[in-house]
Structure formats: structure tokens, C-alpha cells
């Protein structure tokens, strides 16, 4: 007998009723993709996905599974026949491998036809361990804890479990168009969406030569980090220079950012619809900069009734930085190429813009034509499993 199976517990499945089948199918697919390089057999039933480890070391596999959304917990389990004799031997063996002075046994009896109830089974197994070892029972702070799940076909014994990402399986609840600047916030926002099971496609606004092409390289590196959680990510680059220049010719300085964000949202919504995404997402956090005050957001969002998600809207900067460091994107984001050139940075941007004024100023140039031109000249890059790949 050996602990040679990984048992994957589903995420927020309880609330999903009819969607259970779709959830499981999607998660099983994602697990298979994530574990492709290990080549291990996986199968799913109503309650769990099982991965047969064979001789593989479970640690790197668990580490990989911790990057897959839709997983609540992962345990390394030993499978035995649903009979007391085998369960006793299994529990004793696991505890000997752990070799801690105290233990606790938790039994869950799914198959209610089993003659003993949970308490009865617990006592039986514990008696056996006490008779065959020097270990003592401690129900409050056990050195080792064995979980026993008794089903009709088998019993699953485990000493270890780790928390997964939670959320829904990636791709199950659609995709969004994520506006990615290259700063610290937007990669964290993208991660928050992915973790929830929402697939992201990224959109970047580039203003060459005012911004350096080095920013695009930076974005590619950021997406490589996010590949751990979403194996394929599309990045689209919007040539934004002409609109930037038109704005700065026609709009008074304090309103430049407001009008610029209105243009960006228009383009992002058009791209989202074209890509069949169900929402646009940004890394905005309320109040952080002039364009992210509630007043500004109101005026900017007025250009569309398409949903706009702001996963970080109430996060504070320090917590965002903390998450970015954990993701590994922080060091990339702080490279000294900015997404916005100082030439286009107004000294006193409006923090409480007025809708009428913003509309009036942007009516001074033919933005519809410029936006159409942008949409026709989008460059698309694919980042897949850690590297740039040819278009699909």
C-alpha cells in the first residue's frame, strides 16, 4: 500500500447546481493541460479529480496544481479496499511514515451502508494504532492527522493536504479584455481575474516614439509570469500615437487624461466585442491617481454601457505591491520604461472633471476616424507556456 494518488477537491462547486458537469469537465481539461509534462493519468468523478502519481514525486505536481483555478484543496491519498482490515494497516503505515508522537483520526463515511458509523470506525482504527505503536492520541494539537474518506468503492487515507487557488476553472465563465499598461497594478488585476476562472486577453496602448518599444518586451515578460495561471495569453498592441497627439492639440491640459481614458475605453470596448469578450477590465484602484477618482471614473465610463471590471478597485497600493511581488511581476513592472511619456503628462490633471466639458473638448477633433484607424492597425502577440509563439 502506498500514498500514490492525488485527490483534487473542487472549488466553489456547491453553489453551481446544474453547472456541475461543465465545471468538472473544464477543470479536468485544465488539470490535464497543467500536468501535461508529467504525463500522469487523471480522471474525475462527481466529487474529486484523481491523479495517479505512480513513482512521481508529488511535490512539483502539487506546486503546479496550486496554480490552477477551481481547486479548493489537494491531498496526497492512499487508496485501500473499503474494509476495516486494510484501513487499519493503511492508517498505521501513514502514521509511521509521519512518525510524530501524537495523532488524530478523522473519518468521513460517505457510504452510509457501512456497518459502523464514523465514530465507531474512528475508535476501531485508533485502537489498532494504539495497540501497534507508541503513539498517543491528541485531539487538539495532533502531531499527525489522518483523514479517512470511506466510499462504496474504496477508502481514501491522507495525512497531507494543501490549499488551491479556489475560484472557478479557467475559461468556464468567459473571457475579458484586460487593459495592460505595464505598471504594477494591471498584472495583479489580471491575476485576480484568472484566479476567479475568467480568461484574460490583454490590450496595450502604445505611443511610439514617445514610449519605447521596450515596454512591449516588458509586457511579454509579465505575461510569461501569468502563463503559470493561464497557459495561453493574447496581447494586442493599439497604435495610439495619433490620438494622443490629437488630444494634446485640441484639449486643454487638465482634461487631456480624462479624454485620453475615454478614447482608450472606446477602443477597448470595440476590441472586446470583436474578440467576443464579455467585459473590459482595468487595474484601476479608486482614488490612486487623477483619472481614478470616482468623479473621473464616472465621466470616463460614460462612453459605454459595456461592463467594465476593476478587480483592484478597493485594494490599497501596498497590498497590490505585495501581490505583484508574490506573482513575480513587480520587478518587471518597475523597469524604468514608462507606459506614458512625460511629454503627455499634464502638470495638473483634473480630479473632478465635468462630463459636459469632456464631451465638448473631444468634439473638437474627429476621434471616430482616428479610432477606426487604430482598430485596423492592431498588432497581435501570443504568449504561450512561457514564450512568444506564432499567431494562431
Amino acid at each position: 500500500m502506498k500514498a500514490d494518488t492525488l485527490m483534487i477537491h473542487y472549488g466553489e462547486l456547491s453553489t453551481k447546481g446544474d453547472n456541475r458537469k461543465a465545471f468538472i469537465t473544464c477543470l479536468l481539461h485544465n488539470v490535464r493541460v497543467a500536468l501535461k509534462k508529467f504525463g500522469l493519468p487523471c480522471h474525475a468523478d462527481r466529487d474529486h479529480i484523481y491523479v495517479q502519481l505512480g513513482e512521481e514525486d508529488p511535490r512539483p505536481i502539487i506546486a503546479r496544481l496550486k496554480e490552477v483555478s477551481g481547486i479548493q484543496r489537494i491531498s496526497v491519498v492512499m487508496k485501500t479496499a473499503p474494509q476495516l482490515e486494510e484501513m487499519r494497516e493503511g492508517v498505521l503505515q501513514l502514521l509511521k511514515e509521519e512518525n510524530k508522537e501524537t495523532f488524530k483520526i478523522d473519518v468521513k463515511r460517505v457510504d452510509k451502508r457501512f456497518p459502523l458509523d464514523s465514530y465507531g470506525i474512528t475508535c476501531d482504527l485508533a485502537d489498532y494504532v494504539l495497540d501497534h505503536s507508541d503513539y498517543a492520541v491528541d485531539l487538539h494539537q495532533p502531531g499527525a492527522k489522518v483523514k479517512v474518506t470511506l466510499r462504496s468503492d474504496a477508502a481514501y487515507l491522507s495525512c497531507h493536504e494543501e490549499l488551491g487557488l479556489g475560484g472557478y476553472p479557467l475559461g468556464m465563465i468567459g473571457k475579458v479584455t484586460m487593459m495592460l499598461s505595464g505598471g504594477i497594478d494591471s498584472p495583479v488585476a489580471a491575476y485576480a481575474l484568472i484566479r476567479r476562472g475568467i480568461k484574460v486577453e490583454c490590450l496595450h496602448f502604445a505611443s511610439p516614439p514617445y514610449t519605447s518599444y521596450a515596454v512591449v518586451d516588458k509586457l511579454k515578460d509579465i505575461l510569461v509570469c501569468l502563463n503559470d495561471y493561464q497557459p495561453d495569453i493574447k496581447l494586442q498592441i493599439v497604435p495610439f500615437t495619433k490620438i494622443q497627439e490629437a488630444i494634446y492639440e485640441s484639449v486643454p491640459e487638465p482634461y487631456c487624461i480624462t479624454v485620453m481614458r475615454r478614447m482608450m475605453i472606446r477602443i477597448a470596448v470595440a476590441m472586446a466585442k470583436k474578440n467576443k469578450a464579455l467585459a473590459v477590465a482595468t487595474g484601476e484602484s479608486i482614488g490612486q491617481v487623477a483619472s481614478q477618482t470616482l468623479e473621473s471614473i464616472g465621466v470616463i465610463e460614460e462612453v459605454t454601457n459595456f461592463p467594465i471590471l476593476r478587480p483592484l478597485c478597493v485594494e490599497d497600493k501596498l497590498s497590490i505591491i505585495e501581490q505583484a511581488k508574490r506573482l513575480g511581476t513587480y520587478e518587471i513592472s518597475i523597469r524604468p520604461y514608462e507606459d506614458c511619456c512625460t511629454i503627455f503628462k499634464p502638470k495638473r490633471p483634473k480630479t473632478k472633471p465635468k462630463l459636459e466639458d469632456a464631451k465638448f473638448y473631444e468634439s473638437k477633433f474627429d476621434y471616430e476616424t482616428l479610432i477606426q484607424e487604430c482598430l485596423q492597425n492592431i498588432e497581435t502577440i501570443y504568449i504561450s507556456e512561457g514564450k512568444e509563439v506564432e499567431g494562431k
Partner: protein
């Protein structure tokens, strides 16, 4: 592609690559090994060393240390001399427009060992004038460092005159960073007590440079270990890299006259074109023709450099396009330029292989960008 950034790096010549491969294949043994193969490698290494010194005409008076780069050479020369001879005095003079690989080691000596490091002012063209140096010299000075050709502007220092002033003081050594000078201007190698350079600026390989110094000079070592390179720089010497460097120097000196004539003509076209566009010139007509520096009166240098880069033309500027990291050139500030000029300069650096078409293409694209791009 129009590459006009030869002062940053140059492509290695095929002769250099061949020499590197040849020595790698033929003499891989450690020159410090005492067996026949090792002795063979050592013999070749000493031959390369002798050839190098002879190329500079200093075979009788100097020796050469092979090392990794000009930065390493400057560090070894400056720290090595200062620490070795600190009992003679603690005053060091350095021109205010030196490369960071000279300034930083000297600042380190000042901050850590209490040396008095004095910056020698330059004139408005970026040169250390002999009379300025003369005014700063005294009997406490143990070391003077003045570069041959400035890497940002191409300003040329009169090393013969400067060394003469230093050598009137018997305790003082004269060091010169020749990284941008070899093969690009006449250098009085014999007059220099120590000089440094790297191979990749003269169509050699990255990862190799040399420090040439008068045989009587002792240095506190940079690396301690097996005692290679006169004990100044322990480390197994790479014969192939050393040989590739000597090849690069030989070809560079051989073609010096021809390439100066060729590049001077291009530089004149460049200076004229830039002047027509109203650019502020930071290089002067008598300077080293291989480097031309100018400031943009209205535009941001980083934006123009990025625009040129997108058009396949590669030149250099100091600053990235960022409010946080805007840098100004301390070299241009030292020449008395304004902060705006020093923060918005572009360096174009030429080579014997540069064509007139490339220079014209640069000028045309610059004109187009100046019209297209918003001023700063």
C-alpha cells in the same frame, strides 16, 4: 539597418573571430601548466604580449596585463597605483569628463581610503587645457588621469603636453583611458605611464581588454590567487581572447590613417547637416571625427532616439523616456552647457565602415522626426 553607435560597441572582424577560434583549437592548455602543451601556450601568450607592446611602440619600457574590459583596467590601474603609492601622497587629479569606470573607483578611494580626488575642469569644448592642469599640480599629487578621447563628445586631450606637465613631478603617474582613442587619433603611447582600453570598441571581442603600464610600476593586485599577469591580476589567462585583442589592435592601427580620413569627411557632412537643422553642436571640428554629439533645442532626446530606432537607425542618448530616470550628461554640464542641453543630447558615432548614404539617411530621418514629434 543603419548602425551609428560604434562608440558603444562594434561588430567583431572576421580576422578577430578566426584568430580566437584558431587559438582555441590549437592551444587550449593552461599557460601556467608546466608540461609541453602548457609551455607552448605560454610561449604564444608572451608572443601576443610582445606584439601588442610593439604595436604601441613601447616594447622596451612597458608591460601589458590582459584583463576583461576597460572598466577592469581602469579599476586596476587607479586603485592599484593609489593604494601601492599612498605613502607618497594622497592627492589624485582627474578630468571632470571621465567615464564612470574612472570616476567611480576614484570616488571609492576618496570615500574609503581618504584620498583627495580633485576634478580638473575642462574648457567649453570639453578639453583639459595644459595650463589648467599645471595650475592644479603640486608635489602631493601621485596620480593624474585624463582620457584620450571623450566617449560622449569626441573631445581630444593633448596627452603629450599633459604628460609632460605631470612628469615634471617625479612622484606622479599619468594614466589615460584610451578606450575611444585607439585607432581613432594619434596617441603618444610612450609618454603614458599607464593606459587602458577594451577590444570590443575596435572590432574585437567583448570580455577582453588590456592595461599597459611602465615596467617599473607596481600595483596592489585586483585579484589574489595564482599570481598570473605579474601578480596584478590572478586568473587563468585566456590566450584566445588575448590573441583576438592583439589582432583587433593591429588591424585598427594599420587602418587608422585611412579610416580617419574617411570618417572625417562623413563627420563634416554630419556637422553641417546638424547645424542646418538648428541643432546645438557639442562636438567641435578639430575633435575626434568618430564621435559627434549634439543637443536638441526643442525635442526630448529619448523620444527622437526611439523614433530613429523604429526606423532602423541606431544612435545613443543618455536618458530613457521616463520622468523618474531623466538623466543629464555630466560631461556636457562640465563644458558649461545648460541643463536642457545636457539632458537632451544625442551621440552619433561613426566607423571606417560607415557610408555617406547612412549618414544622409540619418540626417533625413532626423529631419522627418523633428517635424513629426511633439516638442518637449
Amino acid at each position: 539597418m543603419t548602425y551609428l553607435d560604434f562608440a558603444s560597441s562594434t561588430p567583431p572582424r572576421s580576422e578577430v573571430l578566426d584568430r580566437f577560434a584558431e587559438l582555441n583549437r590549437e592551444s587550449f592548455a593552461n599557460p601556467s601548466s608546466t608540461h609541453a602543451l602548457g609551455r607552448e601556450a605560454e610561449r604564444k601568450l608572451e608572443q601576443e604580449r610582445k606584439t601588442l607592446l610593439d604595436l604601441f611602440g613601447v616594447g622596451a619600457s612597458h608591460r601589458a596585463v590582459f584583463l576583461s574590459s576597460a572598466t577592469e583596467g581602469n579599476n586596476l590601474a587607479l586603485k592599484g597605483v593609489a593604494l601601492q603609492y599612498s605613502n607618497r601622497g594622497k592627492k589624485i587629479l582627474v578630468s571632470s569628463t571621465e567615464h564612470p569606470s574612472v570616476i567611480e573607483p576614484l570616488d571609492y578611494l576618496a570615500n574609503t581610503y581618504g584620498f583627495e580626488v580633485i576634478r580638473i575642469p575642462v574648457d567649453s569644448l570639453g578639453r583639459v587645457l595644459p595650463e589648467t592642469l599645471q595650475g592644479l599640480m603640486d608635489k602631493d599629487v601621485i596620480l593624474v588621469s585624463v582620457m584620450g578621447v571623450n566617449n560622449e563628445t569626441g573631445a581630444v586631450n593633448d596627452l603629450a603636453a599633459l604628460s609632460k606637465i605631470v612628469h615634471a613631478y617625479p612622484k606622479a603617474f599619468f594614466h589615460s583611458d584610451l578606450t575611444q582613442a585607439i585607432g581613432k587619433t594619434d596617441v603618444p603611447y610612450k609618454d603614458l605611464d599607464l593606459f587602458t582600453f577594451s577590444a570590443h570598441k575596435i572590432h574585437g571581442l567583448k570580455g577582453v581588454g588590456a592595461l599597459v603600464l611602465r615596467s617599473s610600476i607596481r600595483l596592489v593586485p585586483s585579484f589574489h590567487g595564482g599570481g598570473q599577469e605579474y601578480g596584478f591580476r590572478s586568473s587563468t589567462v585566456s590566450l584566445p581572447l588575448a590573441g583576438s585583442l592583439v589582432k583587433a589592435v593591429a588591424l585598427s592601427l594599420k587602418e587608422q590613417k585611412k579610416s580617419i580620413a574617411h570618417v572625417s569627411a562623413l563627420r563634416d557632412v554630419l556637422l553641417e547637416g546638424l547645424q542646418e537643422k538648428g541643432m546645438v553642436l557639442n562636438s567641435y571640428p578639430e575633435g575626434c571625427p568618430f564621435v559627434v554629439n549634439f543637443s536638441l533645442p526643442l525635442h526630448k532626446a529619448s523620444v527622437i532616439v526611439e523614433g530613429l530606432s523604429q526606423r532602423g537607425i541606431y544612435v545613443s542618448s543618455l536618458s530613457a523616456c521616463s520622468s523618474k530616470t531623466d538623466q543629464v550628461s555630466y560631461v556636457l554640464l562640465a563644458m558649461g552647457k545648460s541643463k536642457e542641453e545636457a539632458g537632451n543630447s544625442i551621440r552619433v558615432s561613426l566607423d571606417g565602415s560607415t557610408s555617406l548614404e547612412e549618414v544622409e539617411s540619418f540626417l533625413n530621418n532626423l529631419s522627418a522626426l523633428l517635424l513629426e514629434v511633439r516638442p518637449r
